[in-house]
């Protein structure tokens, strides 16, 4: 049990670190396409690690199955939403940031 608690704490801490870095990147990156990268980090790595950390401290198997369903939905919809956003922005003609350009 103590091993599971320590492992869960490590996973939760790593997930919190990924989520925070993604949030900072969402605010600091210079244009839209680089911000998609930060948002994808929080969607896949952060959410997956936090939900795995919660899965290691579930009281019953019904709760574990619900956590697995949430992980499956996030793993399916996160990359799809990122792809749809990038596709729509590219078709709409949002310009790509090059080194030395102004931030926008």
């Amino acid at each position: 049990m103590i091993v599971l608690d320590i492992l869960s704490a490590v996973l939760l801490a790593a997930g919190a670190l990924f989520v925070l870095s993604g949030g900072v990147g969402l605010l600091r990156f210079p244009d839209f396409y680089t911000r998609i990268h930060a948002a994808g980090i929080t969607d896949s790595a952060g959410a997956g690690l936090i939900l795995l950390g919660l899965l290691l401290r579930t009281p019953s198997w019904e709760t574990g199955i619900r956590l697995l369903i949430i992980m499956l939905f996030l793993a399916l919809t996160g990359p799809t939403a990122s792809y749809v956003l990038a596709f729509a922005a590219r078709r709409d003609g949002v310009p790509i940031w090059r080194a030395g350009d102004r931030r926008r």
Partner: protein, 95 residues
């Protein structure tokens, strides 16, 4: 530990809201709202564990579904000015 994760999630939600207010153009705002919705799912799940009531996870599943459908619907609305009808274009034009 769980309180620290909740604090990190809250800070990230504030940062995403700041990007949604600042962000030039509609795509930055939609991206920020998408990130905010995903963080809401995680926050609801973690709050269920903090309060010892894991039934909150059902609300998390609902939020995950509604969030994705909302992003795709808003993108459709901004591109086609219509939610329901498929406009008469060639096959690859799809949101």
């Amino acid at each position: 530990m769980i309180v620290a994760v909740m604090a990190a999630l809250l800070v990230t939600m504030v940062l995403a809201l700041a990007r949604a207010f600042l962000g030039p153009g509609r795509y930055n705002r939609i991206l920020a709202i998408n990130v905010f919705g995903t963080k809401t799912v995680l926050f609801v799940a973690v709050a269920g564990y903090l309060f010892g009531r894991p039934e909150f996870l059902d609300i998390g599943i609902l939020y995950a579904l509604v969030n994705f459908v909302a992003v795709v619907a808003v993108l459709r609305l901004t591109h086609y000015d219509d939610l329901a009808e498929e406009p008469a274009t060639d096959g690859e034009e799809r949101t």
